[in-house]
Amino acid sequence: MIAIVVAIAQALASLGFGLAVLRLARYETEPGVLRLGVALGLGAGCIGWLGFWIGVGGAFRASTFAGVVGVGLLLLWLRRGDLTLARGGDRLDRITVVLLTALCVSLFIDLLEAFAPAGDVDTMAYHFALPKQFLQQHRIFFVPLAVEGAVPLLMHMTYALALALGGEQAVQLWLLITQIALLATVYGVARRWLDRSWSLALVLVLNVTPATIYGGGTGHVETRTALFMLIAVIAATDAVERRALGAAIVAGLAAGFFAGAKYYGLFAACAVGLIFLSGRPQWRAVAAYAGMAAVAGSQWYVWTWIHSGMPVFPTLYAVFGVRDQMWNEQAARFFKQAYARWSPMPTTVATFVTYPFVATVAPPPALEAGRTGLGPFLFLALPWLIGALRRWKDLVGPTLLRVLLAATVFYALWFWIPSSQLTRQLLPIYPLALLVVGVAGTRWSRLNGYTRPWAAVFALSIALGMAVHAAYAVNFLRYHLKRESRSEFLERNVAFASVAAWANANIGPADRLGNPLRAMNYLIDVPYAMLHPMYQARVELRPDAGSLPTFVRQLDRERLTHLLVHPSLTANVGPGNALVSLSRGLVANGCAMLQQRVPTTVISSRTMGTFVRDTVDALRLTTSTPECQRQLNLVRTP
């Protein structure tokens, strides 16, 4: 119950902050759902931005967050006059009723997920694990881990607020609320050009897109950054077309919040910035946009720079070098080589053009575009887009062309600047593409009498999406209908959950666990260090790391008392598995002893319910014993 109250209070407080920002900037959006969505998104960004300073100030605890919510609620009370929902009372036609019913079913499935424990791998690895760790220490601290530690965490600050005040359940509900805010904003923007039923159909397509189904109810930030992107783009087009400085300020804030929540937000800030140069440049608006984006989005880059020596860790290692021993030349080389696994397509002009098609109909497995991609809608709608672009002045118009420009520039930067080619990373620009294609296609259909095949595009995309969403719901239905306990659900959904339970029961608060199993980070209550072979270099576990004395020194430097080993010490692994090889060396030389062989499960698909049984070895480290020191000829440095 408290979780529901907290999530609603957080949503209302976000609305309060957002409405206050809109008022201060004097940016007028249409009343109704668009203003609600925009205000909630901006408010969530404000709370995330404040969360950083609260964390730096060492006040990262429930009482401070309660104060933030209190201020937000007060602002909402002061701006309550801006909240109006009613806009015409015309009757709903049959299609609208059908679409609304389908949307309610889809949101009900999302609600089933929200009322179940978190189970997604990345969510357990860092989206929820980092806020939990920060709350345990009442401050934010730098986590020297590539991809899932030293990254912009603005959105995670909002997760921390919900976690501190209402526990995990509140975060789950907060995720759903932010997803609904995205849907509301898409609907509100679509209503500028489309009638109610086509706008609802677009919203439904978005909510049953595989990437949204996969990421919306989990800690993945793309659904949230999609909201920031949409707000930024719409405000930027308003700024250019209405010559409204306030809109430029809001666009800067939203683009900055995106940059503060994900490195890809840097691409977003550039893409939105180009909108300002698409008309006659208004330099005051450009300056306002850039200034607000820098204020809203720079905090995590400065933070990372201060702690690691580079603003984007570890991508800029070659330029800036690094402080401390958190990264090195070999780690950089291995990271680049291993991370390339998620970029299977060469970056050429031909693949730049063909990527959307390949990702839709024949994606290489590394794109993960089948089960977590963008669905078939844009592919099926292609003839309508081509038809409409032939008469772009009438059918698309300058505003949507600017929207298309921002989406295309983001896509180009994302594609050409090497990172990963995971298709779901494009979710932040997917609503933009949906709006452009949805509006252009509907207009072209009306003009030529192609509405029926156009409706078939929507019907097939929605029907398939609903079927996928229903299949996704089975896992959560089972939890609710069978009245599973939390531990039963975790055992089915989270790899190595039993190992986390063992660690919590057997490792004390004065100990420190070396944990190479990222999927269970969030479940660990005792102190631990994440030992990913690719993402960190403080304890080197790359395939070429073969020096046992170095390994022991690094374990000591991290003050580790225990170490988890997977696969087990007796498993048949090749020499490239440094963790197993070095751990065998530890045991053989008296530097560690096997404390427990923990049976566990490794989950391959939560939705399909597929898993394999396995074991994890828990070692107690005895690196300070004379035997270990003698065997390895270690000379201790004080």
Partner: protein, 41 residues
Amino acid sequence: MSSERHGTARVLLFAWVALGFLAYMWQFRGMFAAALRMFGR
């Protein structure tokens, strides 16, 4: 455009939607086969 050409274009658009949808679904054939096998057991 004449109504005849509009009619042809409509048919072509329907055909594109149907074939495009099948082309999209083709990548999941393995998953469907596995699901059917599970159902059959």
